[in-house]
Assembly symmetry: D4
Homo-oligomer: 210 residues x 8
């Protein structure tokens, strides 16, 4: 693997025995973090029995071994509403497993602007921001206008009708009037965390060994 990048397995479609075997190989191959995403409690127990020392976060559906130590990169993760929680949980758990320091700002959707404005300054003090939002995804645009740091938007598939299972939020975020937003796949808390992980590595490599 590329130097420093966590090893990740996507569980859906893999039998538990197969996951156990892949994890064995990845734990051997490097000495960095090994993650399995989208894995429920029961198969997690089986895999952990074979490879003790890891842990499973049920809200995030994440299995992780050898999480990286925090290295000072501060990531803010914002959700618009309750429906965005599971995706934000995946983003937070993966980000922590690769060594980021995560603060969650929940339920700060734009229909109630005051909650967002109340925490805007605190959010802006982070190194990067992940915005998790469904329906029309407007939160990403507003946050993009409030902070100068990198903003990664994650569209969420919950909602109904014209929300088109997250496609509307995806298109809206890509069309955002806030310059320099970037977007990952629908419901991909994993993708947002890995994008932040790439940012943190860039920052770290520029900071030097110190």
């Amino acid at each position: 693997a590329r130097q420093g990048v966590a090893e990740c397995v996507y569980a859906p479609g893999k039998r538990t025995g197969h996951i156990t075997a892949i994890v064995a190989e990845l734990l051997d191959r490097s000495d960095g973090p090994v993650l399995v995403t989208r894995v429920e409690a029961e198969p997690a127990r089986t895999v952990l029995a074979a490879h003790p020392g890891g842990s499973h976060d049920p809200a995030a559906r994440l299995l992780a071994w050898r999480p990286a130590p925090p290295d000072g990169f501060r990531l803010a993760i914002l959700t618009a509403g309750t429906a965005d929680e599971p995706v934000a949980a995946e983003a937070a758990a993966v980000a922590r497993a690769v060594g980021l320091e995560v603060t969650l700002f929940r339920d700060v959707g734009v229909a109630g602007l005051h909650r967002l404005l109340d925490c805007a300054e605190e959010v802006a003090a982070h190194d990067a921001v992940v915005v998790v939002a469904g329906m029309e995804g407007a939160l990403a645009s507003v946050v993009g206008g409030l902070v100068a740091c990198p903003v990664v938007a994650v569209p969420v598939s919950t909602g109904y009708g014209a929300g088109l299972d997250g496609v509307t939020a995806l298109l809206a975020m890509l069309s955002s009037c806030a310059a320099g937003l970037t977007v990952v796949n629908i419901d991909s808390g994993f993708g947002a965390a890995m994008a932040a992980h790439r940012l943190a590595m860039a920052v770290r490599s520029r900071r030097g060994p110190g």
Copy 2:
């Protein structure tokens, strides 16, 4: 025609002579406002020559005869940015022709939230709000959360790529997390103004003859 509703003609696809003939008939049939939408300066001149007493607004591309007198219904029209101007101009001109009192709030898009917050109270003092916005259409959600009166959202087709010629803004506005927003067709400043016209008639009929 239903009592009190303006008579409206959609010009695209009609020859100028045909428009002139329809206007003649409509001026005859009632004594309320007669409007022709989406008509450029040159055909407008020809039709006005045949039916003097009307006027043409080139930004709105609207021809109007016998505009209704202002009846006290205050409509706020907001645009997110420059691209929304022609649609807002159509909405404003039609609204005025049917007797509404229009205030325009321009360039209050969410990427620069302060301009919007600065006028929020003034906007909230109106009877209804039309929000004209393209790209991701986030302005509608934010306004919907700031005011309690009826909000009609108009998606705008400008932009590129993932904006899908206004379809993204349309879907986003329909999926808005702000409760009770309603939406009209892409670029339909006319539709928004007519929706406001219906509101004004409802208000007026409740106010009684006074």
Copy 3:
């Protein structure tokens, strides 16, 4: 919350305990109506046990506390056919909970025009109309041409094939040849009722204290 607007919770995706906690907070925060939408009978019972004094409407799947007293705004809700009933039920229950006076006109779809024409005058005597229709949504256009007051169209997702889960009705309603119709999200009886609620507040604020 904005003065006079009901507090609303969207139940899907929230655990019952979470709903109970949010309702507690909302009952505390204001003294207006508190609503929970899309909630089935069983979780409703649990929440009502914790917060007595509310009621659950199973057809509408609505939990409501402290419904507003009727304030004289007359809302007509029309359905095209049987498939539209659950959405109309949500619209009616929410509308009543926020103080509107609702009359239901059922099964007046355009394939049997006489039923609709028979009640057209009665419908036109209301302050606003909500049209609930699936398949091709033609009822909204016909009603829009029969009445002069505000018309909010709700596309319904039932049907098959070319109905595209309500997207066809949605697009048809947005493209309606009847001027000034507005549209809300697919199956959003809630959205239509809240749009009517905004109308009622506009009417009331114009009527003055009396």
Copy 4:
């Protein structure tokens, strides 16, 4: 060719010389009607110079030789509005060229229901009905409920935004709540006329030689 079916050429994409050659061949091959659709005045003149005895209808953009004599099949063609005229003109011209007796009912769109109801009985006296309508295409559903004979719906591509260049009308007509409507391609006045031609042949073959 199948017995009795007119020979038809679609002009777009063919050079005028090529059209002239095909017409020569078709005039030779049978002795029934020969049609060229979607052909403008100028190339039409060139082809007619080579094959005199035909005629060009500029509104319909149709070239026709040896039109069939009227055989008593009465076709009603309805349009919702002005934008539907060119498609209805093509349908009428092709239908007449294959021997049908056409009556046009123009501008009977559902937003002004009275014009339609005024002619409903007259329409119902025909052998078949073609409904030409764009935007939301609601006219087809209403007519389908008013008459018992075959109804062929033609969606029209004019309009903007959510009309999606006729796709919305197409989907709406296919989803119609009026049982037994059939639909042809967007803007295909030709297709509707040929469908009526097939109907007329079925009727004629049942009527016997008389």
Copy 5:
């Protein structure tokens, strides 16, 4: 109801008791056929217990009372393959209930052209043809070229991937190079049969009282 048209109820979404009540009303209102489509064996039994004298066709999922006597209109129904059977069964059962004489030609898809060519002459001897086909729907085009009578194409939703749940067959049939085909909604055997019913009524009314 319009003179002679069967009364039809669409069962999905209706409770059994509701269906029973509607059937009661329809049996009362006219003395022609009464049909309930898309109804499974169990609710059918309940409704039949209340209204004896009808029958249920489980393959067609159709309940019918007072089927019309055969009146000599010969309808051919073709299927491309096994997947098209349930839709063809609905078309056949509805068509017979309204008095048409139905011949089924099964499994004559175009990938094995000889089976189709072997029966082409027999098919062409009918008054109208219904083509039921999924996947790419090519059978409709080929049949449209082989027969001169009315052809109604029914796209079928089975298949996978690029078949897009019948949308591909629908679009293909609408774009057919065979002139005068008409199309009904995806999987709507009912719609095709009702279109044939309209044809039969047109033929009958022309034939005179005899």
Copy 6:
């Protein structure tokens, strides 16, 4: 480049000077065929002036230098109608430039099945078949059932409405009921010819040096 594969340049978006420079480089790099696709007569003349010895086929819009000698691979190219000609011309010219022996079978669309059946045996005697067809693309399915050799289908973008600029033909060909068809991009005569080129190389490499 991979051994034996022709070098190809796609002209659209490249300035003529740029094309000339690329061709210089490609003529130098190998000694096989060098092709420029989608190039009109005028820029072709300029490029040929700089690199004599090539030739331009205006119907195919192809510039070619050093065409490969025919090596005995027989490719049949079929078109459904006139609209498919330009795409078939590109396929034929590219195929010949890379050494294939091409026979064109024109205007054998399925609405007139006899022309196709008349040449079916001759087509089946080829090593591979390219089917070029627009609208509903049914020709590919029929041919796929008539021949046992490789069939490459090319959807064509001409047509209107439900043809969706070739997307309908594309989806229909991918959903074909004829097993083992393969498909290339819309209008890509080039892609079909290059696919045949790959086939010819496979055949040749198996035939051995002889």
Copy 7:
């Protein structure tokens, strides 16, 4: 059936008894391979009991009788990741049943390019290549650039969000910058194997009787 082509049945939607009957007929009709695709273990057992001598491959969900003897055509099948396994298994089993020699190269997706480059030469030594890949389908483009022989790409439907159930991979493969790729339907391991079967027959027929 065309000479030498295997007889194939698609099981979904067919009752087990129906499958048994069709297999009986096909085993009778020719003496080549008879295949039933997409059939699970249980119905397979029933059909095999009636027609002994066949075998069922559960990973491929394939029933096969009288597999063709290997005839020297070497097919490489590549997968990008674990999710592509079931589709590759179907492709491999069908290909072997029709006499091809299959080598599987698993998990050579482009995000880890070295695994692919390590086997590139070995892959290039085959007569044809099938690439099975989901998500963005990039593997097909890279392989298309590495080998000169025929490449058939199979898009896979697994994944989520912007993958659109395989439509994204399908469109990406059709738009590939690698010239001469061909594509089959989403998840159609069967289609890819049959395309390779057609290739093998073309090669064989050119090789002569030897």
Copy 8:
């Protein structure tokens, strides 16, 4: 404006006089870079005459005043082919105007993998990478697997047919199997550069005042 962020104007749809006025205001408001994107040579000259000291890059269609001094952030911009040049030019010009150090790697598309592998190490030495690619956008996935730093993918709208004006590349990039890629709007060289600008600010703020 947020501290340190460049001021940017999107020219399409704005009259030249309007652009001149906005630039005046922006030059006044801050002392950082002022940019106008998507502006052709002629209007650029007019605006520059009013505000000397800026410069216009015609390939990038960018007007810029007061470009930021290079601050050591190294950005690699890769293109797959010629069609991607204009978008890459915009990305490069905007990135340089906001102080990034840009290296362009052109024409390194995956169909010719060796050119990409030859520069992979050099690319990996940058702080961030922008990948500009159309058609199937596979380059982004391959690069994402080769480098550990942040990768921003820009889909390009050129191409035809299944490329769907860049939508295919967009969806493919969002579905990429390479973890942590982020995506901006179709053709948005600007968006990618601004995303890199946000990265650079994050790096700089962590590096401290030095």
